[in-house]
Amino acid sequence: MNDTDLKPATLEYALRLGDDSLVLGHRISEWVSHGPFLEEDIAYANVSLDYIGRARMFYNYAAELANDGRTEDDFAYLRDAREFRNLLLHELPRGDFAYSQVRQLFVDVFNTGFLAELIHSKDETLAAIAAKAIKETRYHLRRSHEWVLRLGDGTEESHQRTQTAVDALWGYTPELFDMDALEQRLADAGIGVDTAQLKAQWDAQINEILSKATLEIPAGDWAVRGGRVGFHSENLGHLLTDMQSVHRAYPGCQW
């Protein structure tokens, strides 16, 4: 179990990870009935469910740590954009199919490294969630990897769209490897992951995949940050409006 003084930090950490999962899970669920063909529609629905399930596990743990009557639903449905702590990459709109797959590749490669470390967390619940989630993430990565290769090294149009997506998303990836005082403290205590240490491996893997897909690696001369302190793009507000509408219109409703 955690030292008592690390409990509030662990709660905040569980919420951050829950927010990442929920926001991305909801975002990719928007592909349902809009996929390019039926199998892809189903694939996105599956990936989305895995992420929403992951969010529930993190939120339930946060609720357990908070122990103040709040439940997973309070975290998901009753907080506003400024209270969400997800990394910006997760909230960006779904864009076209290439855009969503490139984002998924960036996230999947990151999560394969991240979860492999979180499995060793001294916090048993975080370790257990990671052990479960990594199996799913490896599965997701095979799909996003294959699609980026196929689209990048595909037709002139698919290549161009995929390159546009890589360029548009690139500046949102440095935030994945930012550490703040809270995360550093948890990493030092063996509870959290030092994501700064994951960057070299991520760069190597992504460079290899993008090169194989005949895509150019962007210069990396811009970066956007703010998700972990609650500064979001306008996209998150729109997403929450949609996602929280039923719960806000019928508070406490059960069905």
Partner: protein, 176 residues
């Protein structure tokens, strides 16, 4: 189709746990709780039912989720409660246990057979987390002339295949 009945070590351990349990009648009772998505499988066969303990008269049932977002888990939880209540075990509790993470290696031999008869190809041994591209035996005609259509299927636990001989599309229960 004939198959050599090998069981995994994980499965052996589960069998032993059930055999040595102090409350056989509850394990047997919960055999009636099925996966709502695949009613051919009981929660025991699926490996979701992890443990049953009786503590000071209270029954504590531990289950583990298959996939993180599997919507069947909520239904399974309430089906367990219903089954126990109907059998007059009123003092009970259903706990979710995350570790160790669920694996298809826990699926019973009986479950694999029932799954195939139900029309879903059971998980094959092989590299963890990989869905083969071909040669998953067709649950309809037994042919191995089959091909993967998609790694994702109608539920999180399945991938989609098609048989090259009888032409039937079928679900394959992914190994995880």
């Amino acid at each position: 189709m004939d198959a050599i009945p090998l069981i995994s070590y994980e499965q052996y351990e589960r069998e032993q746990q059930r055999v040595h349990s102090a409350c056989h009648e509850i394990w047997d009772l919960l055999d009636q709780v099925k996966d709502p998505e695949i009613p051919a499988l009981s929660i025991w066969d699926l490996g979701v039912l992890r443990d049953i303990q009786v503590r000071e008269g209270r029954i504590v049932v531990s289950i583990t989720p298959t996939y993180s977002g599997c919507p069947a888990m909520d239904v399974i939880r309430s089906d367990i409660t219903d089954a126990l209540t109907a059998a007059d075990y009123t003092d009970h509790e259903v706990r979710t246990q995350l570790a160790p993470a669920w694996t298809t290696d826990w699926m019973s031999a009986e479950g694999r057979k029932n799954l195939r008869n139900y029309g879903v190809a059971p998980p094959q041994n092989g590299a963890e987390n990989a869905v083969p591209e071909r040669r998953v035996a067709c649950p309809q005609c037994g042919s191995e002339n089959t091909q993967r259509v998609s790694e994702f299927g109608s539920t999180a636990c399945k991938a989609l295949f098609q048989c090259g001989d009888c032409r039937e599309p079928f679900d394959y229960f992914k190994r995880i």
